[in-house]
Subunit: 288 residues, 4 copies
C-alpha cells in the first residue's frame, strides 16, 4: 500500500489524526515513537533550523531532502508542507511528483503568493493569489499525483478576509480536486475555525493547526465532526530551542557539563534512537 | 582576517576556548548567543539528527552542507569534525579544501580507520590506522589548507592502547604538522587525560572532549596549562531529544498543546532567532 | 584579490571579456582551458542537463551547488546566472550572499517575474516586474554583496517592449547600483542590440548574449565601444547534446563501440581533465 | 512492477541488454531515446563531470542525487554504479536501501577496497578486499534490498590476479546471493573475458564493460551464451568532452559563434529534450 493510501486508511480509523511537526529524521522518529499518527514536514521548522525566516528562502530541494530523511528514519506517514508549491502551477507539478517519489503521504499547498510570509507574524504582508489561480494549482497537483493526498490550505483567515471568503475558497479548492481542506487562523480563540467548520458543507474533511488557540483539543475536533487532522505545527523546534538555550547557559555558567548532564538525554538514549543495536547486529552478521 | 586566524587569535585570548556542539544553523546560532567561543560541527550530532549511527554513514557532502549553514547562520567560528577525513589522505585533501572554502576555522581529523565506529559506544570495534598512515593524512591536510587550523585527534585511549601510545601518536602527528592535538577518552574520570596532558611535552596545545568525565571544568583545564579548547561534543542534540520527547508526550497525553506551550520557546522567540525583524526591515527597504 | 575584483581587472584588460556557458565542473574547466576569460554558470544549461525546462524549476540550492563545483574545478571567474533572484528582493539578498561565499565573481539578475520562462522560446509568456520593483532587487543585491559584481539584465527586448523601454530600464537599474547592464534580444540580427548600445549613455558597461545573432563578433563588440562582455549562453550543452546523440546512435547501429571510439575523447584525455597525474603525485606523497 | 522486476523482464527479452553510461538527467534521457535498454549511472562519468578523479572522492549523496535525476528525467531503467558500496557492509546496507528508494533497477558493487582507484588507469593501485569480506557485502546488499537487482563486480582481472581467481571470486559472490556477475578487464583484447565466460559454470548471468576491447560486439556477447548485459561505461562524457573542446576552440578562433552553430544541437532540439512543449501544454491548462 502506498503512503497516501495508508494515510487515508489511518484517517478513517482515527479521528482526528494527530500530526506533529518535525524538522529532520530524528524528530520524525520521535514523533512516531510518541504515538502521533503522522509527521508534519514543516516548512516553518525547517527554516527555523537553518536560522532563517519562513519566507520562501529555503528551497524545495532542501525541503525535499529533509522529507526523504524523515521517511527513511521514521518509516512513518509524512504530511509535507509545500508552502505555495514553490512558484506557480508548473512548480506544483514538479513538486508533487518529487514528494510522492520521496515517500510523502500527503502534500499541503497554500493559497499565498510566492514568496510567502510566515502566517503568524504580526504585521506581516499576507498576499493571496486569486481563487482561480489557486484552483489551477490544485488541479495541477491532482493531475501530477498518483496516490499522494492533496490538501488545499486557505490563508483567507490569516489574511483577514473573513470566514465567508475562506468558505468560498475552500469550496473552490474542493471543486478543483482537493482531498482535504486546511483552514489556518491566527485568532487567539478557536471560535473562528469552529465557525468555519460548522458552516462547511463540503465533503472534504478539514485540517486545523491550533498554534494560536492551543486549548483546542482532540475532543473539540471530534465535536465538530468534520475535522480529520490536527497539525501541531512548530512544537518540535520550539521544544528544541528552549532546551538548547537552557543547557548551553547551564554549561557556560557551571564551567562544566556535570549539572546539565542530568536533564538531557543520556548517550545511551541517543544510541538507541540512532539504531546502534541494529548496527551492531549488522556488523556481527556482515563484517568479515 | 580568515576564520582560521580568528580562531588562533581567540585561542590566545581565552584559555580554554569553550566549543559547543551544534547540528544545524539554528543550534550554531544559539551556541554563539550563549557565549561559547566556537561551534563544534559534530559528526555525531549530525548523524543523530538523521536518526543514523555515527559510523561514517552520513557523507562528507552532507556534513559540509551543514557546516556552511552553521557559518552562514551564526557568523561564528566553526571547528569542523571531519572524522577520519572520509577515506584516505586523498580524501583528506579534498575535504580540507572544501571545508576551508565553506568558512570553517578548524578541521579535526581522527586516526580511526574508515568507516569508523562512534567512540563512546561500549563494545564497539575501534580500529586505528598505522601511525605513519595518519601522519600522511595530517601532512596531506597541511599541504591542502591555506589558513584552516588542523587538529589531529588520537583515539588511542578509546581503542584501549594506553597513554604511552597516545603520547607517541600525538608526537608523530605534531611532527607531521598538526596545529593542535585532540586526545579523546572514554574513561569515567579525567585522570586519564590529565595524565596525558602532564606528560605531553609537545608545543601543540591540547583539545579535550569531556563527555565521559563531565565534572572536568574550565578551571581544571587551566590548571593543566596546555589545554587550549574544551569541546562539549553532543549536548545540543541530547538537550533537543529529551525536550522533544517531553513535549510530544505531554501533547499526546493532554490532547492539546496548551500545557506544553508554557515550557517551550514562544513563537516570538523563534521569530527572533530566525531574524524576522531584520527581514521586516529588508522588506520595508527593498520591496516596492 | 576577491573574484569580483579579479573580474573587474580582467574587464579593464580585455575588451570584451568572452564568457562561455558551462553546466558543471568539467565544462567550466574546459572553458578556462579554451582561453575564455570567464565562465557563465548558465541557468539554461543547468536546467537542460537535468532534462528540465529553463523555467524556475531547478532551485537556487541546486544552481549554487553547481556554481561551487565550477569554481573549485576550474579556479576560473564565474559569472553566475541568478535568473530573477529566485523570488523577490529578500530572496536576492540571500542569493547574493550565498553566491559570493561560493566564490562567484559576478551575479546576473533579470527583470522577469518569478517563475520565469526561458527567453528564446517562441510564443512563451515573458512577464517583467515593474521597474521600481526591480530597482529594489538591484539595491538589495548591492546592499548584500561585498565584492561581487552585480549585473542587471533587462528582458525588455525579449518581452517586445522596444529599445526605448530597455534603455529606460537600464538607466533605472544603473541608478539602483548595477555595475553592468545586460541587454538580451531574440532578434535574428544584431541591429537591435547595436541600436541599444549606441543610444546607451550610462557609464555602466554592457553585456550581450548573441545567441540569436551568432554572427556578432568580438570585433563588432569592440566597434560599439561600450560592450564589456559577450556571453555565449548555451553552446556547451548544445555541443554535448549533439555529440552524445551521434555517439549513442553509432554504437547502437554498429553493435560495438569501436567506430565511436575514434571520434570521442580517449580515456587518457578524460584522465588528464580529471587531474589523475596530480592524484598520482598526491598518492605517492601522502599514502603510506 | 518495480524497476528491478522490469530489468529482469527486459533481460529475458533482449540478449544482451545494452546499457549506456550517463552522468545527468539529460544524458540519461538521450540514452533511452537512442534505444538502449538501460542507463549506466556511472561513477566514472559523474566524477569526470565534476572535474575529479574516479577515486571515491565524489560521495554517495551526490551520486544518489544524480541517480534520482536520471530516473526522473528518463523514466528508464537505471543500473547504478555503487563502486565499493562507499565503505563496508554497513555502508552497503544504507546505500542499497537508498538507491532502491531512488528508483534504481540494479546496483553494482565491486570488490575493490575503499577508497578505490579507477580501473583503467595505468600503474594505479588496485587493491581488492578479501573474498569473504566481499561476500559479507553482497549478503548485506541482498538482505537490504527489496526488488533491486544486485550485481557483484570482480576486479580480479584489473588487479592482475588472473582468470582463475576471477572465477573463484565470482562463484563466491554468486553463493552470497548476487543476481549477476560483472567481470571487468583492462586487456586490449576480448580474449580474457571470453575465456572467463567460457569457463564460468555459475547460473548468474554475466555483465561486461568492453571499454578496453571496443571491438567486442553484441553478436560476440550472444555467441558466449551467458552474457546478459554490455555496459558502455564512459562514452557519454567522452563524447561531451571532445564536442565541447571543439566548439569552444572554434568560437574562440572565429571570434563569433556562427560557425560553431552549425555543428551543435539547435536551440529547438534543446527545447524538445527539455520538454518545452509539455510545459506549454501545462501552462495552457493550469495557469490562470
Amino acid at each position: 500500500m502506498q503512503p497516501g493510501e495508508r494515510l487515508l486508511e489511518a484517517a478513517s480509523a482515527t479521528v482526528p489524526l494527530r500530526v506533529m511537526a518535525a524538522h529532520n529524521g530524528l524528530s520524525a522518529k520521535l514523533v512516531v515513537e510518541a504515538g502521533f499518527e503522522a509527521i508534519w514536514a514543516s516548512g516553518f521548522e525547517l527554516a527555523a533550523t537553518r536560522g532563517l525566516p519562513d519566507a520562501s528562502i529555503v528551497t524545495m530541494a532542501e525541503h525535499l531532502a529533509v522529507t526523504r530523511e524523515m521517511v527513511s528514519a521514521s518509516r512513518g506517514l509524512v504530511v509535507a508542507d509545500l508552502d505555495t508549491g514553490f512558484g506557480n502551477a508548473i512548480n506544483v507539478i514538479h513538486a508533487v511528483q518529487a514528494y510522492e517519489v520521496a515517500g510523502a503521504a500527503a502534500a499541503v499547498l497554500e493559497d499565498k503568493r510566492f514568496p510567502k510570509m510566515t502566517s503568524l507574524i504580526s504585521g506581516g504582508r499576507q498576499e493571496l493569489v486569486r481563487t482561480e489561480e489557486f484552483q489551477g494549482k490544485v488541479e495541477a497537483a491532482c493531475s501530477a499525483r498518483n496516490r499522494l493526498v492533496i490538501i488545499a490550505r486557505t490563508e483567507a483567515l490569516i489574511a483577514g478576509l473573513g470566514v465567508q471568503e475562506a468558505l468560498a475558497r475552500a469550496a473552490a479548492y474542493e471543486e478543483a480536486g482537493a482531498d482535504f481542506i486546511l483552514v489556518h487562523s491566527k485568532s487567539r480563540s478557536a471560535a473562528e475555525v469552529q465557525q468555519f467548520a460548522r458552516r462547511w458543507t463540503g465533503r472534504a474533511p478539514l485540517v486545523l493547526i491550533p498554534t494560536s488557540y492551543p486549548e483546542f483539543s482532540v475532543e473539540d475536533a471530534r465535536d465538530l465532526g468534520n475535522v480529520a487532522m490536527i497539525i501541531y505545527g512548530n512544537h518540535a523546534v520550539r521544544a528544541a530551542i528552549s532546551a538548547m538555550q537552557r543547557t548551553f547557559a547551564e554549561i557556560r555558567r557551571d564551567g562544566c557539563a556535570l549539572g546539565a548532564d542530568t536533564s538531557i538525554a543520556p548517550l545511551e538514549e541517543v544510541f538507541r534512537v540512532q539504531g546502534m543495536s541494529e548496527l551492531k547486529s549488522q556488523e556481527a552478521r556482515f563484517l568479515r
